[in-house]
Subunit: 457 residues, 2 copies
């Protein structure tokens, strides 16, 4: 039994569990700029559209079938469906659907998809206890701040090691949001964060399976339950996040504590949130954008002999699937993304359907894409050249893809994306009303009215 | 966004997810020796006594209060109480109570407490679907084999890094046991293990708080839900355990794959399970045993000037709390353990009550214990010398404490321990019947009869 392994430990970490708990429990309602508050609405809207859009996906069906084996009480709504389940299960299933299409928001500094865990937990609880829209938005801003600051602290080592950082930080944001909604005091909030700290969810190996979207769902559920436990007096270490054998030092070899504490309450990480115009991993977006631009410049698939792509190594590491067999695999194929951009001028969920992915003209076009790694090119950029059969070369360089912080989707584009996801589930009229309710969320006395609009007739 | 961090990856791991899944799905019922099967009964009995004994602990009350906020269906029994909750919540709460007193079983090679996650998940599901006792025992043996083999593979690095290995491997054992009970085929079992692989629970910083026993409870819940999800077609990576960005390589830098595959189906890790005579962390047991022996040799507290303890460094790292303020902290105090052994000749749950811990004679006796690190001494051993006020020195060396593999508790001692835990909850007669039902579990047509005996009148 004897052994000598030692792991380096930092015994001088600041008390970030306490610092974050006091921040979450005491920060004033709407204690941020109009721009931050508007971003919170955009984040909520985008998340909701994704969840509604995937409501009938087989991953949602399977998850809900498993949840039904528990005979849950009808406390909260499964978005985009008529089902009602207990609030923790609603957090789980809505977290799953919000990430199923890989179409949700991205905090680009960390590749965290912050709304999945946080909004899924917060809305389920808010619906159950009839919170106001303002309370929900406050919880969303503060919860996302917690997840993303912890992500900043650990990124990139934590992610490189194998953690799917969305689920492995998201339970903290979800716990924070739910603690806020439950109006826990600072000490109870500290316990909620502490309980959640023991439950990171998700490894990157799961990409391409249903367990990938399970990660934000599982994190949402874990965070919500952590807050409920804390509200009933359940205890955790008050240093659960920062202690030598606590969360951060166990799951990351890099921990820049100042990323958690710096400008806390002044800078809000939700400001750096972005929304995807394309229904796949963010690292493919510059390449799709470039191919959409090629199409806009008149390049047609049948003219193409070769598409030359120069990308950062991470693009091929994450999305290097050369011959995707179905829609799910195509989400991890920069080759398919390029083909879709050039063929259709878009890459929403429909362009990642099995039927499109296996079309012979798409297979042929994908095979014409040649990707080369060039780490002089940023992850956010791409250099694309279409070599045509007549020998012409058409070149596009994308520094920041549409949907990035530097080149964000407009509110109108977000509404269009929402319609694209939701119309087939709720109908266009109901979708329009739901979008309105999202923009008006800050004034809603009770979030139940909005939730009711997310249920199909 | 650009970064260059690289983490070493092993791309040549054997397909252990598949190997374990096939083993769990296809190994014959009772396909092991009588000795292994008897150990399974002992493991179950010991686990059940611990869970019943802590049924009224404030951690159980708090957890159950949080669960009640979900308005659960009465599917399964909270052991030692009249409450019934959904089976996943029963797995959670029973997992918590089984570890609350730190009195449960220990797989000494890994310091895993294997029954907590596995039995808590398996019994809740078995009760719900009215499995036979034989099916439950099969699930227990196979589930524990999965957790402990994965633990062997990663120990000690995984534990040293900060993971509470009971919860961070236990969700795999729980998933395996539940997959077996659900009669999933090998492929579905592989998915269950894969889903569970994304949900390790627990860091060591939580020791001394309610979140420590939450870890086996959370792992039980996660494992059960993973099996339910897999039964409904939810998918995960078929290489979730072994892939470079999968579970094992993300949570441990040491992965000796042969520990999973070697003698699979021939050697059963439940054979190496042990049961605690003392209600605290296993590393204190040699010290308590030694002090009980001092007492048996006539040494009385009032004669003692000093107790000199030579121990492995891990003992003080884990249980070096010099001045415990309450019963929970005392579980992590080798000083308190020694004082209890000398004062009472035992160290069951009562000797870790707040009242005993704060008694002035106990405080005084604790302060007479002087511990020195000597890594020539094995973790399983201790060298103790009582220096008496008259100058005499009484020396005891314990190579293997009572309750170790080499010096196990007898069946009769286990029954005595069970009575000590359960009589105050269920009454002595009912406890006797419950003990009988445990020994007869292999013949039970339906586990519900046994479970009914664990409910107070």
């Amino acid at each position: 039994m004897a052994r000598n392994t030692q792991v380096a430990a930092d015994h001088n970490a600041p008390p970030i569990t306490q610092i974050l708990a006091e921040f979450v429990a005491t920060h004033p309602s709407r204690g941020w700029s109009d721009a931050v508050d508007h971003e919170a609405h955009r984040t909520f809207l985008n998340w909701l559209g994704c969840a509604v859009g995937a409501a009938r996906h087989e991953a949602a069906d399977a998850a809900l079938a498993a949840v039904r084996m528990l005979e849950p009480s009808p406390q909260a709504t499964v978005l985009g469906r008529k089902d009602r389940v207990d609030m923790a299960s609603a957090a789980l299933v809505n977290g799953i659907t919000s990430h199923t299409f890989d179409f949700d928001d991205t905090h680009l500094k960390t590749i965290i998809h912050p709304a999945g865990p946080v909004a899924s937990a917060a809305l389920a609880l808010a619906e159950r206890q009839r919170s106001s829209g303002r309370e929900l938005l406050d919880a969303l801003v503060l919860g996302i701040d917690v997840s993303c600051r912890v992500g900043n602290m650990m990124y990139p080592e934590h992610y490189d090691r194998g953690w799917h950082i969305t689920g492995s930080t998201g339970m903290l944001g979800a716990a924070a949001a739910c603690a806020r909604l439950l109006r826990l005091d600072a000490r109870q909030t500290q316990m909620a964060l502490g309980i959640a700290a023991s439950q990171p969810v998700g490894m990157r190996e799961q990409f391409g399976t249903m367990t990938k979207p399970f990660h934000p769902g599982g994190a949402a559920r874990a965070g919500l339950m952590s807050a409920l436990l804390a509200s009933q007096g359940f205890t955790a270490s008050p240093k659960a996040l920062e202690a030598p054998r606590g969360y951060a030092q166990t799951v990351s070899t890099k921990n820049d504590w100042s990323q958690v504490t710096g400008e806390l309450g002044q800078r809000f990480e939700i400001s750096f949130n972005s929304y995807k115009p394309f229904a796949c991993g963010i690292v493919i977006h510059p390449s799709i954008d470039a191919c959409v631009q090629l199409r806009e410049q008149g390049v047609r698939p049948e003219q193409v002999e070769r598409i030359e792509l120069k990308v950062h190594s991470l693009v091929l590491e994450l999305t290097g699937k050369k011959e995707p067999a179905d829609g799910l695999q195509a989400k991890f194929s920069v080759y398919h993304g390029c083909a879709a951009g050039l063929m259709f001028g878009r890459a929403a969920e429909d362009e990642f359907s099995d039927a499109v992915v296996t079309r012979s003209d798409m297979v042929a076009l994908r095979r014409k894409v040649v990707a080369t790694v060039d780490d002089a090119i940023d992850e956010a950029s791409v250099d694309v050249t279409a070599v045509l059969t007549d020998g012409r070369r058409v070149h596009v360089f994308v520094k920041n893809a549409i949907g990035s912080i530097e080149n964000p989707m407009t509110d109108a584009l977000l509404e269009g994306k929402f319609h694209g996801l939701s119309d087939a589930v709720l109908g266009a009229d109901a979708t329009g009303k739901l979008i309105e309710a999202c923009w008006d969320l800050g004034e809603a006395k009770d979030v139940q009215a909005l939730v009711a609009l997310a249920v199909p007739r």
